[in-house]
Amino acid sequence: MNGFRWRRETPLAGILLLLVVAVSIAQPRFLSPENLRSILLWLPLLVIVALGEMTVILTRGIDVSVGSMLGLSGMMTAMLLRDHPEIPVPVAALFAMAAGGGLGAINGGLVAGVGIPPIVATLATLGIYRGATFLVSGGKQVDDYQLPRALAGWSSDGPFGADIVPYVVWIALLAAVAMQRFLTDSRTGRDWYAIGGDPDGAADRGVAVRPRVFLAYVFSGVGSGLAGLLYASRFGTVNPASIGNGFELLVISATVIGGVSIFGGSGTVAGVLLGSLLLGTISVALAVLNIAETWQSAVYGAVLLAALLADDAMRRRLEREERG
C-alpha cells in the first residue's frame, strides 16, 4: 500500500550509506565483522525504546520518562535475578516488560485518564521513577557476579552458535517487525495515526481515544522495561544512578531524526530504525576513527546537523519532483 510512506525514509538511508562509505575509507576495518557486530550490539536498547517512544509521539504525546522507566524496571529485574537466580531469563524478560508496562500504565493513566499534558506527566515521572530506583535498590548497585550467566549470554551469543548476531539483536529486529505490522495493519495502530492527526476529530469519529493513548504509553513502558533487562544483559552492572540516565534525549533524537513528527500522526518503523542506525553508526565511527576525545562531541553534533540538513534538502527535492 504505502509507496508514499517509504519515500520519506529514502534520503535518510542515502545519508547513512554515505556516512558508512566515508568512514570505511578512513578506517577500512569499520566494515570488519567484529565492528559491524559492535554496531549491531549498540542498537537494541535504543531501537526497542524508540519504537515505544514512537507510538507515544504518534498520538501527539511525548514520553521523557523512558530512561527512568528503563532504570527502574531494569533495577527491579536485576534484583529479582540476583535474589532468585533460579528464575529463567525469559521469565525475567516477561517480568521486566510487565514492570515497564506498569510504569507506562501510570503515565498513560496520568495522560489519558487524568488529562495531564504528556510532557508534564512524564517529566514528573522521570524524577519519580528515578527516585524510586534508588529506593527499591537502597542505593546499591547489582553487580555482574550476582546475575545469572545466561543473561549476559543474550548479548554475546547468537542462535545456532552464530554469535556474530547475538540474541538481543534478534529481539530488537523482531520487535521492529512486529511493530511495523502492528502500526500498519491493526486498528489500534491506525487509530494512533488518526489521534495524532486530529485528537478531537478522532474522538468525534468514534475512535476510543483515551484507551488508545493509554495503550501507547503502556507500549512505551513495555519497550523501556525490556530494554532494562537488555541493559543488564549488555553491561552487567546495574547502578541506580546510571542505568538509563539521560537516555530519553538519545531516544527522542533517534525518533525525530527518523522522521517521526513531534506534532503527531506521522512516522514509520523504518524511519526509527534508520534514525537509530544513524546515531549508532556515528557513535561507533567516532570510536574507531582516531578522533581526539575532546573533538568527539563537536563532531557528533556537526554530523547530526549535516545529516538533518541533507535529509531536509533531499526530501524537498523529492517532493518537488513528485509534484511535477
Partner: protein, 504 residues
C-alpha cells in the same frame, strides 16, 4: 429499507445548552421525520450548530431530552450517536493527514479481517462511496494536501458509510462549488427517498428551497418557527430569522474606469496554474470563478507572497514589484482573507481584540509597544459594524460561532485599510443578513477605490458584486465576462461542469 413514511425518527424535547453561564440554546423542540430534509435556519450564532451537535453527541445538553423512535435516549458521544443511526458532518471537516483518504472515511470503524485491517474491502468500499459522491479522490492517497471541499466530501462519505438513518449536514455546501452543490443535492434527494431523515444547515435560500421539505428557524438560541418549505417564502423565513425587515440586496452601479492598480502578466506555477494574465483597476471588483481545484486559491496565495510563481510578473501602479512574503504584499497595500478559516485565519484561543488587531499592529503600536486602548476601541468598532455576536471583545474567539469567527477574520483585514483586497470565499458560513452587510462593505470599499479580487463558490455573490468575471479552468484563464454578460449558465459552462447538475 424503510419507506419514506414521514414517521418521526428523532424528537428533541426542551433541549437546552449553556456554556458556563451563557445559554446558547433554549428549549428546542424539533422532530426529524423519515423521508424529509429538514433545514435549520438562523443567523450566525443562532444555535444551529449547537442543536446539531447535541443530536450528534458532540455536546451534551444542560436540560431537555432526546427521543429516538419514541424511546428516550442519552447520547454521550458521537460513537453512541452512530450506534443510534445518527451521523453528523460538522461545519469544520476533521482530517487525519497521514491516513489515506479511505481510512479518513472509515476512521474508527476500519473493516477488519482476522485481527488485521482488511485493506481490500476498505479501498473497495471507499472507492464505491467516492464514486457515488462523484468526487475524484484516490482512496489510497494521504489526506494531507486535500482542499476543504475534498475533506468535506470525505466526511460526507464517512457519514454515508455509517448507513445512518439520520444525517446532519452542517454547512456542508459552504465550501462547495455550484456543480458540487448540485451533485450533493442529487445525493440528498436519493437518501430522502430511501427514508432517511436529513438535517440541512445552510445560509443560501436557493438551496433551502431547492432541497428542503421543512424548515426550523432559530433566533438567539430559541426556535421561532417551523414551516413547510412548500408553504412559505424566503421573505417569511428571513423575517423570522432576523426579526425585522431585511436590507436591500447590494447592486453595483459605478463602473470603474481608473488605471489598473494590479496587473498580473504571464504568471505560471505549474502544475497549479499557467500563463495567467489579468488586471484590476482602482475601484473594480473582479470575480474569479471556477471549480474546486481549479487553482483560484493558489493564485490568490501567490499574489500575497505565500508562494512564488515560476515565471511571470506582477505590477502595482504600473511598476513591477517583487512580492516574497505576506509582509511585502501588505506593504503594497494588499490583504488576503483566506479560504480556510480554521487553519489560516483564526487564532481560536486568543481574544477578539488580539485577532482583529493582529495584522494592523504596526499601526496600533508606538515604537514596538502595544497601544491596547486603541486596539480595544478598534475592535469594538468592528464588532459593532459587522454585527458580531459575542459577549465581550476579550472573549476567546473559540467561543464564537463559525460565521462570527469569519467576521472577525474579515475585520482583521479590513482594519489594515487595504488598497488591494483578495477575498477567498469571504462569506463562507456567514448568514444572509451579515452577508448583505459584508457585500455592502465590499461594494463600498470598491467605491472608495479598493481593487478587489473576489473568489467565491457562491455564484450569485460573484455575479452580483463583480464588474468583471474571470473563469479559471484547470489552472488556465479560459474566459472573461463583462458585468452584463455573465449569467450563471455561461459561467458554469466555461468552468467546465459537464454534468446536467447546475444551480439555479
Amino acid at each position: 429499507m424503510s419507506k419514506p413514511d414521514g414517521s418521526v425518527l428523532l424528537r428533541t424535547i426542551g433541549l437546552s445548552k449553556a456554556f458556563g453561564s451563557v445559554t446558547v440554546l433554549e428549549n428546542a423542540d424539533v422532530e426529524l421525520r423519515a423521508g424529509e430534509i429538514h433545514a435549520f435556519l438562523g443567523e450566525n450564532g443562532a444555535g444551529k450548530s449547537t442543536l446539531a451537535k447535541l443530536i450528534g453527541g458532540i455536546h451534551r445538553p444542560t436540560a431537555g431530552r432526546i427521543e429516538r423512535d419514541g424511546r428516550p435516549v442519552t447520547i454521550r458521544n458521537p460513537r453512541e450517536a452512530a450506534s443510534l443511526g445518527i451521523g453528523l458532518i460538522p461545519q469544520e471537516p476533521r482530517t487525519f493527514p497521514d491516513l489515506s483518504a479511505a481510512e479518513n472515511i472509515f476512521v474508527g470503524r476500519l473493516p477488519m479481517r482476522g485481527g488485521r485491517v482488511d485493506w481490500k474491502t476498505l479501498y473497495g468500499r471507499a472507492e464505491e462511496l467516492l464514486r457515488t459522491l462523484g468526487v475524484e479522490i484516490d482512496p489510497r492517497r494521504p489526506a494531507r494536501g486535500l482542499s476543504v471541499a475534498d475533506r468535506q466530501m470525505l466526511e460526507l462519505a464517512g457519514a454515508l458509510s455509517l448507513d445512518a438513518r439520520i444525517l446532519l449536514l452542517d454547512e456542508t455546501t459552504a465550501s462547495l462549488t455550484p456543480g458540487e452543490v448540485g451533485r450533493l443535492g442529487e445525493i440528498l434527494r436519493r437518501l430522502r427517498s430511501e427514508g432517511k431523515a436529513l438535517v440541512f444547515i445552510g445560509h443560501r435560500m436557493e438551496e433551502i428551497f431547492d432541497l428542503c421539505d421543512r424548515a426550523t428557524v432559530l433566533r438567539d438560541g430559541r426556535i421561532v418557527g417551523e414551516r413547510r418549505v412548500r408553504e412559505t417564502t424566503p421573505d417569511e423565513l428571513l423575517r423570522l430569522m432576523v426579526g425585522r425587515a431585511m436590507g436591500e440586496a447590494v447592486t453595483r452601479k459605478k463602473v470603474a474606469d481608473g488605471p489598473p492598480i494590479l496587473e498580473v502578466v504571464g504568471w505560471s506555477q505549474p502544475p497549479r496554474f499557467r500563463d495567467i494574465s489579468f488586471s484590476i483597476r482602482k475601484g473594480e471588483i473582479v470575480g474569479l470563478a471556477g471549480l474546486v481545484g481549479a487553482g483560484r486559491t493558489e493564485i490568490a496565495c501567490a499574489l500575497f507572497g505565500l508562494s512564488r510563481p515560476t515565471s511571470g510578473e506582477v505590477r502595482i501602479d504600473g511598476r513591477p514589484v517583487e512580492i516574497r512574503s505576506p509582509e511585502d504584499a501588505m506593504r503594497h497595500g494588499m490583504a488576503l482573507v483566506p479560504e480556510d478559516r480554521q487553519r489560516q485565519g483564526a487564532f481560536l484561543p486568543l481574544s477578539l481584540r488580539e485577532n482583529v488587531t493582529l495584522s494592523s499592529l504596526p499601526r496600533l503600536s508606538g515604537r514596538g509597544w502595544l497601544r491596547e486602548d486603541d486596539a480595544r476601541s478598534r475592535t469594538t468598532e468592528w464588532v459593532r459594524r459587522l454585527g458580531v455576536r459575542c459577549r465581550e471583545i476579550e472573549q476567546p474567539l473559540r467561543q464564537l460561532s463559525g460565521g462570527n469567527q469569519q467576521k472577525i477574520v474579515l475585520a482583521k483585514w479590513l482594519e489594515t485599510g487595504p488598497r488591494i483586497l483578495l477575498l477567498d470565499e469571504p462569506t463562507r458560513g456567514i448568514d444572509v443578513n451579515a452577508k448583505t452587510e459584508v457585500h455592502r462593505w465590499i461594494a463600498e470599499l470598491a467605491d472608495q477605490g479598493v481593487a478587489t479580487l473576489l473568489i467565491s463558490s457562491d455564484l450569485p455573490e460573484v455575479l452580483a458584486l463583480s464588474d468583471r468575471v474571470l473563469v479559471l479552468r484547470a489552472g488556465r484563464l479560459v474566459r472573461e465576462f463583462a458585468a452584463g454578460e455573465a449569467t450563471p449558465e455561461a459561467v458554469i459552462a466555461a468552468a467546465g461542469v459537464t454534468t446536467e447538475a447546475t444551480v439555479r
